[in-house]
Amino acid sequence: MDSIAKQPLDLESFTRSTSGKPVLSFLHEWVVTVDHKKLGIMYILYALFFLVVGGVEAMLIRLQLAVPNNHLVGPQAFNQLFTMHGTTMIFLAAMPFIFGFANYLVPLMVGTRDMAFPRLNAFGFWLTAFGGLLLYFSLIGGEGMTGAGSAPDVGWFAYSPLTSKAFSKGHSTDYWTLGILISGFGSIATAINILTTILCLRCRGMTLMKMPLLAWLYLIVSGMVLFAVSPLSAAQIMLLLDRFLGAHFFDTQAGGSAVLWMHFFWIFGHPEVYILVLPVFAFASEIIPVFSRKAIFGYPVMVGATVAIGFVSVSVWAHHMFAVGMTSMGNTFFAISTMLVGVPTGIKIFNWIGTMWGGKIRFATPMLFSIAFLAQFLIAGLTGIMLAAAPFDWQLTDSYFVIAHFHYVIVGAIVFMIFAAVYYWFPKATGTLLNESLGKWHFWLFLIGFHLTFDTMHIPGILGMPRRIYTYSADRGWGTLNLVCTIGAVFQALGILVFVFNIVRSLRKGQPAGNDPWDAWTLEWTTSSPPPEYNYAELPVVKSRRPLWDLKHPTDPDWKYE
């Protein structure tokens, strides 16, 4: 078997000029593309757009809550804002980010030319895209035109019977459920594609245990998507049957069950958290080693922990329902299974620290975000343990403490690591580096804003402030704390502005990156930046988990030790 070292790549031939093309053919090229890299970039741009939209919604929520008895937006608009914010961020920002990176990176990192089913891949993207557009069409469609906006107001987990015809008139809930159903089909299609690509299209020499950890984590995530999004789609279909054909699955006034919806939703909803967080674990498992200059610590255990998280995470959903009135046995079971997830997750945190231990850490922007991710994910996990203790949860659930907890996961861990990943792989995708000083501005502004908002937000929850209230009276003692949260949100918004500016500026006049700007070790850094449409002139052959390490250290290659 040949090692990659013996196959020097003809980089000149990869460079293709796209200048001078008319706008229309440029657009056409992107719309009809089945190239995994173009689709990946479109997913990420789409996600970035909705991150900004969802962020604006969050800003309005924060402004409304900044002072007691505020009248900036009314209750109806507020309820629509938090519904759209949650739905947007989960389904239209986080999921597309995750699939975008999978699309871009998985074929490159397993050393192949494209996804297993390129056309299914494009289909998945466009389903997701149109699902999002359908959700936002609710603002102008249906009664929207005459009723000045009919965005859904049922909350992002849309508990029945609020979604039944009796309590949700008009079509706003229909837009919500159809939008999620359609983008859900897109997710399932993409998950099948990733699964097949990883299992069937790995380059020569790449056994399962020689895959980059990113591929392993996406393998588990894709399995979980199939497992979790299918019941969600089933529930949406049942809801549509209720609303259009007079079925009574969730129609409590006709004997339907509100609790049934809760189970269906959270059987999706909790694995969903891991579907979003495992990919960012994947990013961390690629970025932390490179910037610590060390191999990942305990690769087999990292794989095992991921598989364990995958299994345990599908048995924890009812910890969202501790207050619903389950039996004491039921509550105990879900408390135990939830705490158990902490074990493999803890192992991962320790292994990342083990990776940094004895290294030579370079504090480039991707690494700064990764270190913040480590600390913040630790805190998110610990507040998760508090919520897993069912009686403690009876006090904390549906309060601002829970909001703080899951934003610590979704922003503190997932969004921070997505930023890290953008800074890390942007040079590969565009050929230019993102500006480092702007990156540091982005990091520090966002870090300060994040902690001002979400550290503070735990406290009103402890002081009895429930989530999803549009206002509160001044004598409850929540005013100052909410004001601090809002000030933090302004810092976060500034950070995002710097980030978007950095992307635009670097695309126009960024520093050229070269093939391997970070001195990294995985396959994607062997090809040009951006990679040619066919990725590799000749498909690579690997002998270890770090083919570029072997290439760079021919006297001390990894495969001697693995």
Partner: protein
């Protein structure tokens, strides 16, 4: 070993015998220190705080004991792991005098990885056993003979409160007796919903329990002192979820008995208010509201038989004064946009007469 006499569960709860302490004093101190910033920012009127760390009822106490224990353990984990992260980042940063060589490549270590697998498992076992004990202590507590039964029915966006044993119906302001060591009187709540999912939360008395349509849930409280305890609906239930407030008045047993007596009587019919009563009875008011002794028997809205014995209107959104009552009837939306009570389009003299009648409902 001396045989340990297991005290009867109920009497243990009721007499508040000193319990096996879950947390050592030192841990307690640490946790308390962590709470200082919380107490600093507590409600301006300290007696009306809704902090979960100011329990005044047995289940809320049990939860706080568990909470402090979990906080202590998670706090310790945080200190250790956060310390490791900071140490690694500072100690192993690339120095300016770096020689450019790659550091030693270490691929893993079985003993170390074994250690950080086993230790978390032990911690999880301890936490789950403690949690299971508190779940059992609260959820499986038997109902003592002297317990008071209250039925709470969640509506969009108010609370119907019934005392089936005494034939009393009220709304939004629950009265319960204090439970004394000498005279234990916990209150057992039977929770239902008339429409969507709501959640009963009075943080100082107990954790949340949801009110789910087609399902009967139960919970119990055992307040230790008299006074007013605030709470509100914690599960998003529609447009006016925010102002679905809840007030629990803990009375002495004598006061509570007197309150029940007063609530049981039918509405008095004062001749001066006859005109207003006619307006009440001849308008759609009676479709939703009940006043004992009149034709009004509606249950869609709060029972008004003893309206003036309540401190607030609109599920706590505003104080119950004749002026506010008048304004509320004229346009309920101005206090509570999205409230299901419509403005009845009565003219001013009619509203005056109606209010004159309603203020007699003491």
């Amino acid at each position: 070993m001396k045989p340990d006499v297991e005290p009867n569960r109920v009497s243990e709860r009721v007499e508040r015998a000193p319990k096996r302490t879950l947390v050592s004093p030192r841990v307690f101190l640490l946790a308390t220190l962590a709470l200082v910033p919380l107490t600093l920012s507590a409600a301006s009127d300290a007696s009306l705080t809704t902090s979960i760390f100011a329990p005044e009822s047995t289940p809320a106490h049990s939860i706080m004991r568990l909470s402090l224990f979990v906080l202590a353990i998670t706090g310790a984990i945080f200190v250790v792991v956060f310390g490791l992260i900071i140490y690694a980042v500072v100690r192993f940063r690339r120095r300016s005098e770096d020689d450019g060589k790659e550091p030693a490549q270490i691929y893993g270590s079985n003993p170390v990885e074994m250690a950080w697998t086993v230790v978390p498992i032990i911690i999880v076992v301890v936490l789950t056993l403690t949690t299971a004990r508190i779940i059992h202590e609260i959820q499986d507590a038997p109902k003592p003979a002297g317990a008071v039964d209250v039925q709470v029915i969640g509506h969009q966006f108010w609370w119907e409160i019934r005392y089936p044993k005494y034939g009393v119906v009220t709304a939004n302001e629950m009265h319960v007796p204090v439970s004394l060591k000498t005279h234990p009187m916990p209150t057992f709540l039977d929770l239902r919903s008339a429409d969507v999912v709501h959640s009963f939360w009075v943080p100082r008395l107990a954790g949340k329990t949801e009110l789910v349509p087609n399902k009967v849930n139960t919970m119990w409280i055992e307040p230790e002192r008299t006074g007013l305890f605030l709470g509100q609906c914690a599960k998003y239930c529609g447009t006016q979820h925010s102002w679905m407030l809840l007030r629990v008045y803990v009375d002495t047993p004598e006061e509570f008995g007197r309150w029940l007596q007063e609530q049981k009587t039918s509405a008095t019919s004062e001749p001066t208010a006859a005109a207003g009563r006619r307006i009440f009875e001849r308008n759609a008011c009676i479709n939703c509201h009940a006043v004992n002794g009149t034709v009004g028997t509606g249950r869609f809205g709060p029972d008004l038989t003893h309206l003036m014995s309540r401190d607030t209107l609109g599920s706590g959104v505003v104080k119950n004064t004749p002026e506010n009552l008048r304004a509320w009837i004229k346009a309920p939306d101005q206090f509570k946009p999205g409230v299901l009570m419509p403005a009845m389009n009565l003219n001013d003299p009619e509203i005056d007469e109606l209010v004159a009648y309603l203020v007699t409902l003491k």
